[in-house]
C-alpha cells in the first residue's frame, strides 16, 4: 500500500469507529453520572463526579434479578429447543433416507420467508384458550421444535462430514443416535458453536413475543423490562442507561470470548442457498 492510501485508510477507520463507539461510550459514562448534576445537558460526555448510584437506584426500582433469571430461562430453553433440536433434525435431513424427505426440506426453507407476525393473532387466541398467557411458557413453547435457519446451516455443514465415517461406525454396531453423538457432532463443533452463539444473541434480544404476551412486570425479560422501566422513568436517563448497561453487559462479555465464532458464523450464513 502507498503511504497516502495507508493514511487515508487509518483516518477513515479511526473516524468511522469513533462515530460508532461514541453513542455506546456515552451510555456507559452517563450510567456513572450523578443523577442531578445537570439533567438539562444530555450531551455532557465526561461525568463531573463518578458514582454507582444509578445502578443502585435501578436495582432497587426495577426487578432486575427477576428479569435476568427470566431471560436466562428463555435462553437455556431456546438453546435446547433451537440449537439442540435443530442438530437432531438437521442430522435427519443430512444423513437419513425416507419418502418425502426432500419435500420436507423444501418446506423448512419456505418457512424462512414467512413473516412471523402473521401468526400473532392465532397464537394469542391459542394460548389464551389454554390459559398460558402472561407466562414464560408462552414465549418458550413455540421455540422448542427447532429453527429453520439453524436447521439449514447445520444440514449444509453435516453434508461436508465424510459419510464413510458413519458407515465405519455402523459396521462397528453403532445406531443412528450413536453416529450423531460420536461422529457427526464432534466433527461439527465450529458450526454448532456458531449456531449456539447466534441463538444466544437472538434470544437475548427477543422483544416482540414477550412484549405482546406478558403483562406482570416481574415476569418480563431484560429487553422488555427495560422498555417497561423506560415508560415509568422516562426522564431519569442516568438510571435508564445503568439499566441498559446491565441488560447488554452479559451478551457483550460473551461476544468478547466468542469473537472468532462471530466471524466464522457470518461466513457460514453466507452459504449460497
Amino acid at each position: 500500500m502507498h503511504l497516502a492510501s495507508r493514511a487515508i485508510t487509518y483516518l477513515a477507520l479511526w473516524l468511522g469507529s469513533c462515530l460508532f463507539a461514541v453513542p455506546f461510550l456515552w451510555m456507559l459514562l452517563t450510567s456513572f453520572r450523578q443523577i442531578d448534576s445537570d439533567p438539562a445537558a444530555p450531551t455532557q460526555f465526561w461525568p463531573d463526579a463518578w458514582t454507582w448510584q444509578s445502578y443502585i437506584d435501578a436495582s432497587e426500582t426495577a426487578p432486575l434479578a427477576n428479569w435476568l433469571a427470566n431471560t436466562l430461562v428463555l435462553v437455556v430453553l431456546g438453546l435446547f429447543g433451537q440449537t439442540f433440536v435443530s442438530i437432531v433434525v438437521a442430522f435427519g435431513f443430512a444423513r437419513t433416507q425416507f419418502p418425502g424427505r426432500n419435500q420436507l426440506f423444501m418446506l423448512v426453507l419456505a418457512t424462512l420467508m414467512l413473516p412471523y407476525h402473521v401468526t400473532v393473532v392465532p397464537w394469542f387466541i391459542m394460548f389464551r384458550s389454554v390459559g398460558v398467557l402472561d407466562s414464560l411458557w408462552r414465549i418458550a413453547l413455540p421455540d422448542l421444535w427447532g429453527n429453520a435457519f439453524y436447521i439449514f446451516i447445520l444440514r449444509q455443514f453435516f453434508l461436508t462430514v465424510p459419510v464413510e465415517l458413519d458407515e465405519a461406525a455402523e459396521i462397528d454396531g453403532a445406531n443412528l443416535l450413536q453416529v450423531l453423538f460420536r461422529v457427526v457432532i464432534p466433527l461439527s463443533k465450529p458450526a454448532i458453536a456458531t449456531v449456539a452463539v447466534f441463538n444466544l444473541i437472538h434470544k437475548w434480544d427477543q422483544f416482540f413475543w414477550p412484549f405482546a404476551f406478558i403483562q406482570t412486570p416481574e415476569k418480563l425479560t431484560l429487553a422488555v423490562g427495560l422498555r417497561w422501566f423506560r415508560t415509568q422513568y422516562a426522564s431519569e436517563y442516568p438510571m435508564l442507561m445503568a439499566a441498559s448497561i446491565v441488560s447488554v453487559a452479559p451478551i457483550v462479555i460473551v461476544f468478547f470470548f466468542a469473537q472468532q465464532h462471530f466471524a466464522r458464523g457470518a461466513g457460514l450464513s453466507g452459504i449460497k442457498a
Binding site: 463507539a21 451510555m27 435431513f93
Partner: protein
C-alpha cells in the same frame, strides 16, 4: 425428547414394516425430523391458515366471529383507512433509504477492515458492538442521542453552526422523525458488515493480480473484481434487509410510538395496535396478510432479477 425416544426404541436389527410400509431405517429417519414437523404443524401451519380465515371476518376476541368476505381487504386496499395508507408510505420510505444505506455503509466499512491494518480487532469491535446491543437498549439510548441538544446534533453543529443552520429537532418533527430513525438503523450494520468481510476474504488474490496486469487502478479493481465477486453476499443481505425493514417494530414503539402525527407509524406497529389495542383481530390479520404478500412479491422479484446480476462461481462450468 426425540433423543430419548430413539434410545429406547427397538434395535435396528428389527426388520418389520410399519403402517406406512417403511423400513425401520426410514422410520428412524422420519423420527429425527418429527420434532420440527410437529412444531411446524402446531405453531406455523395451523396458525397460518387460521389467520387467513380470520382476515375475512370481524372478531373482537369476545362474542361471535362474523364473516365479512373481502370487506377488510376492500377497506385496506381502497385507501379508505388513511392511517393504513400512511403506514404503507412510511414503511416504503424506510425501505428505500434503509436498504441501500445499510448495504453501502457495510460495504465501505468491510472494505476498510479488509486492508492489512494494525489493531483490526479494536476497529471490528467498535463497529460490531452496536449490533450486539439489544434493540431495546439501542432505542432507549437513541431517544437521547436524537434529542434537540443530544449527541447527534452536537456533532452536526460542528458543520452547521458556521453556516448558521439550525440542526433539526429529530423526534419532534414530522419531517425529521423518519430520517432520524433511519440514521439510527445505520448504527446496527455490524452483521451485514461481517458477512461482507467474510466474502471479501474469500476473493482469490490472483484475480486482483490479473486485473493489475490489465492496467486496472483502484476503482477498476473494485468495479470489475470486488463487486462482481461479492454479488452473492450483496444479494443475500439485500433480501434480508428488505424483509427486516418490513418488520420494524421495537424502535418505532419505544422512541416515537409512531408519532409525531403518525410520521413513524410502521405497518407492523399499526397491525399490533389494531390487534391488541383496538382488538380488531380480523382486521389485524388482513393487514398481516397484505404485509405477507408484499414481502413475498418483493422477494420473488429480487430472486428473478438475481439471475441477471448475481454471479455464483460454482455455476461457471454451467
Amino acid at each position: 425428547m426425540t433423543a430419548t425416544d430413539m434410545a429406547s426404541a427397538p434395535t435396528p436389527a428389527r426388520r418389520g414394516r410399519g403402517i406406512l410400509g417403511w423400513t425401520w431405517k426410514e422410520t428412524q429417519g422420519f423420527l429425527f425430523i418429527l420434532p420440527w414437523l410437529f412444531g411446524f404443524i402446531v405453531f406455523i401451519a395451523g396458525p397460518f391458515f387460521f389467520s387467513f380465515f380470520l382476515s375475512f371476518t370481524q372478531w373482537r376476541l369476545v362474542g361471535d366471529i362474523k364473516w365479512l368476505g373481502f370487506e377488510n381487504y376492500a377497506q385496506l386496499l381502497s385507501g379508505e383507512d388513511t392511517r393504513f395508507v400512511q403506514s404503507v408510505y412510511n414503511t416504503a420510505y424506510y425501505v428505500v433509504f434503509h436498504v441501500p444505506g445499510v448495504l453501502i455503509i457495510s460495504f465501505i466499512i468491510a472494505g476498510l477492515l479488509n486492508r492489512k491494518v494494525k489493531g483490526i480487532a479494536i476497529y471490528r469491535t467498535a463497529f460490531y458492538l452496536p449490533s450486539i446491543t439489544t434493540g431495546v437498549a439501542t432505542a432507549v439510548l437513541w431517544y437521547w442521542v436524537l434529542q434537540p441538544n443530544g449527541l447527534l446534533n452536537n456533532f452536526l453543529d460542528i458543520f452547521l453552526k458556521p453556516l448558521d443552520i439550525q440542526a433539526p429537532n429529530w423526534l419532534g418533527s414530522t419531517t425529521w422523525a423518519m430520517p432520524g430513525l433511519i440514521i439510527m438503523s445505520f448504527w446496527s450494520v455490524g452483521t451485514t458488515m461481517i458477512i461482507y468481510l467474510a466474502g471479501l476474504q474469500g476473493i482469490p488474490q490472483h484475480l486482483y493480480e490479473a486485473a493489475e496486469i490489465d492496467g486496472a487502478g483502484w476503482w477498476g479493481k473494485v468495479r470489475h473484481v470486488t463487486i462482481p465477486m461479492m454479488t452473492p453476499q450483496i444479494f443475500l443481505t439485500m433480501v434480508l434487509a428488505v424483509i427486516g425493514s418490513f418488520q420494524v417494530f421495537t424502535a418505532a414503539l419505544i422512541i416515537t410510538e409512531g408519532g409525531p402525527a403518525d410520521a413513524t407509524l410502521f405497518l407492523l406497529l399499526y397491525l399490533y395496535w389494531n390487534g391488541f389495542r383496538f382488538f380488531k383481530m380480523g382486521y389485524a390479520s388482513a393487514i398481516a396478510w397484505i404485509l405477507f404478500f408484499v414481502i413475498l412479491f418483493l422477494t420473488i422479484v429480487q430472486f428473478l432479477t438475481a439471475r441477471r446480476w448475481v454471479y455464483y462461481e460454482g455455476e461457471r462450468a454451467g
